[in-house]
């Protein structure tokens, strides 16, 4: 959205950055990463995957074992956090508990020795922006979690840092407040055009907020792409499983763009990693792409995969209904459809066929860790 012009210098450039701790623990494997000015990048991954370590390296809280960090074109690898001119929002807010909201927001301006008049003006403007002008004399502990996080956002944007780092900023909030804050952060990002690096383990958050998602697993970047590309074109089993629900079929390639299940049923592959004949290949089919049809009525059209199965259970989860089906090779596959009153009732034990478009079938690279 904000990626209007490509400046020659990226806002953040990490070159060969790695972090190793004593005893050979690899927190972060050697990686390169560029972040464009104004971009909203989510660092997504399970806990312990290295995303927070990376954020701390950029902030200057943790020195990298190797590699260099450039911010806005200059090498900051050796600079202390206070000299990097960036902002950080923490999960637990990290507000100064002995200062009022006003003083908290004024703090970065005071350490920069601004005139009292300018401080007052800037603080008022920013508090207005996060809708907390009425609470400026209160202490952090007198505010709700959402309000505290808004103070910590205000305290970040007040000194106009070139880059804002956010470490699971909404992790401590309940679901409803989280969604509200997500759109608030997006709004601030749009209005201010700041570059944001956002650490989260919540895939929905990453999908809904980021311009680009960088997916971490065991200290490595496994894939980086726009939310849509990451969802529709995951490269590995890990990426497919981490974002959204997925059915992973274990098959063997039998030719160009065609594989077969252990039951012998052929599956046409639409996209993904190249396959080599007679080698095992994992295929991804998203549950919402799978349709259940009566066995005799099942489509046999070219470009459609059809596999026989038996209904195990159906669960209504509100607006969607999940059906679990055992297919001929013994694996369970999930089919998802919108819940409708008129929808066909499938009884457990019923013999059916599952169909999906060949285009919705994606071959995945085997995970390195699994080999």
């Amino acid at each position: 959205m904000q990626r209007t012009t490509l400046t020659q210098e990226p806002m953040v450039r990490l070159t060969g950055v790695a972090k190793r701790y004593g005893g050979g623990v690899v927190a972060l494997d050697t990686l390169d990463l560029d972040v464009t000015k104004g971009e909203f990048v989510a660092l997504l991954g399970p806990s312990g995957s290295g995303k927070t370590t990376l954020l701390n390296i950029i902030a200057g809280m943790t020195p990298p074992s190797w590699g260099s960090v450039h911010i806005a074109g200059s090498d900051v690898t050796q600079l202390p956090p206070s000299k990097r001119n960036l902002g950080m929002v923490f999960q637990n807010y990290a507000l100064l508990p002995h200062m009022s909201v006003y003083e908290n927001v004024a703090f970065p301006l005071r350490v920069r020795k601004l005139a009292e008049k300018d401080i007052a003006e800037k603080v008022e403007t920013v508090l207005e922006l996060v809708q907390l002008a009425h609470a400026k004399q209160r202490l952090p502990r007198e505010l709700s979690g959402g309000q505290q996080q808004r103070v910590s956002l205000a305290r970040c944007i007040v000194y106009d840092p070139s880059l804002i780092l956010m470490d699971e900023p909404l992790g401590a909030l309940d679901k409803k407040l989280r969604e509200q804050m997500q759109s608030e952060i997006k709004r601030l990002h749009r209005t201010l055009g700041t570059t944001i690096l956002y650490v989260t383990h919540d895939q929905e958050e990453a999908l809904s907020m980021a311009d680009r998602i960088v997916l971490f697993h065991q200290g490595r970047i496994v894939q980086q792409a726009t939310p849509a590309d990451l969802y529709f074109k995951p490269r590995s089993v890990f990426a497919a499983n981490f974002l959204g629900a997925s059915n992973i079929l274990s098959t063997t390639a039998v030719g160009e763009g065609i594989a077969q299940l252990k039951s012998g049923e052929p599956i046409q592959i639409g996209s993904g990693a190249p396959v080599s004949t007679n080698h095992p290949v994992k295929l991804l089919v998203r549950p919402e792409c799978v349709r259940i049809e009566r066995r005799e009525a099942a489509s046999r059209a070219q470009g459609t995969n059809s596999v026989s199965g038996r209904i195990v259970s159906s669960t209504i989860l509100g607006n969607v209904t999940n059906h679990h089906i055992v297919i001929a090779d013994g694996h369970t596959v999930m089919a998802q459809e919108l819940t409708r009153r008129a929808a066909q009732d499938w009884a457990p034990g019923e013999e059916i066929n599952l169909t999906w478009a060949a285009a919705d079938t994606r071959a995945l690279e085997p995970d390195e860790m699994e080999v």
Partner: protein
């Protein structure tokens, strides 16, 4: 249902008994101290209980007619010096230990807390021999050093607990917002540790003010602190003034403890 009710009844009965025992033990320990208070208002020339009259004669003697006051001032001076020294050393040590990890950290913690583990009389004897060689007669310094030594572990423990309760990210956040390490310490760490520091200073003051053994071993002629003077007084004469002194000491100690509790609670 009846069984559970019976168990519950039994449990409350047991807890009542335990409470009663605790109060009994407490009374047993505290009453002898409290007995001193009415004794201090007696007008006779000997310690007696129950007192047969009420007067402020002992207090008059303490404040106006004796050399008790000079000992009291000495104790105050030593206790204040101890509090300042112990806080400066103890808080910086606690801060350094809390904010770093290095091999041998545990050994340093143990070393710093060791004055608490060694019997005070051993510390006192060591200091006595040490200062006898150095020769610091005619000064309160040996007592101050000795008291600082035993107060430091308490300061470290109080300050460490205050540091542990402090969110570490707060200092990181201040640093990222552009504050220099000195600004972080002065504007963030110090204000947040304030109540812990005040509490540990009061503790150090109290430890020094009450301490007899070290003060007795290393204090020279003319440098008897209040507790030492009390101790030597009861060896020669049983003057009822001592009851007045003890009462004043109790009030001071209790006052400081209440103050510490209020300060710690306010957090």
């Amino acid at each position: 249902m009846r069984e559970t009710a019976a168990t519950a009844n039994h449990a409350t009965w047991v807890s009542h008994c335990a409470n009663a025992w605790a109060w009994f033990g407490y009374a047993f320990l505290v009453l002898p101290t409290l007995v001193i208070i009415p004794m201090s208002f007696n007008s006779t020339d000997e310690l007696a209980f129950p007192p047969d009259s009420f007067s402020l004669r002992q207090y008059e003697t303490f404040f106006l007619k004796s050399d008790w006051l000079s000992s009291t001032f000495l104790s105050f001076k030593i206790a204040i010096a101890t509090a300042v020294l112990a806080v400066v050393i103890g808080v910086t040590a606690a801060y350094g230990l809390a904010r770093s990890s290095f091999p041998g950290r545990g050994a340093i913690v143990l070393f710093l807390l060791s004055p608490m583990l060694v019997p005070v009389v051993v510390v006192a004897l060591g200091l006595y021999l040490y200062f006898a060689t150095l020769g610091f007669s005619g000064s309160a310094l040996p007592i101050i050093v000795g008291h600082t030594l035993v107060a430091i572990p308490f300061v470290i423990i109080t300050a460490s607990s205050a540091l542990r309760h402090m969110e570490r990210n707060i200092e990181a956040a201040a640093m990222i917002m552009g504050a220099s390490p000195f600004q972080v310490f002065r504007k963030v760490t110090l204000p947040l540790l304030k109540s812990g520091i005040i509490a540990s200073a009061l503790f150090a003051f109290l430890i020094s003010f009450d301490e007899v053994i070290i003060a007795y071993f290393v204090g020279r002629a003319g440098f008897s602190t209040l507790p030492v003077k009390m101790f030597s007084t009861i060896q020669w004469e049983i003057s009822p003034v001592i009851a007045a002194v003890a009462t004043l000491l109790t009030i001071l100690s209790t006052g400081i403890c209440v103050l510490v509790t209020i300060i710690m609670d306010r957090k």
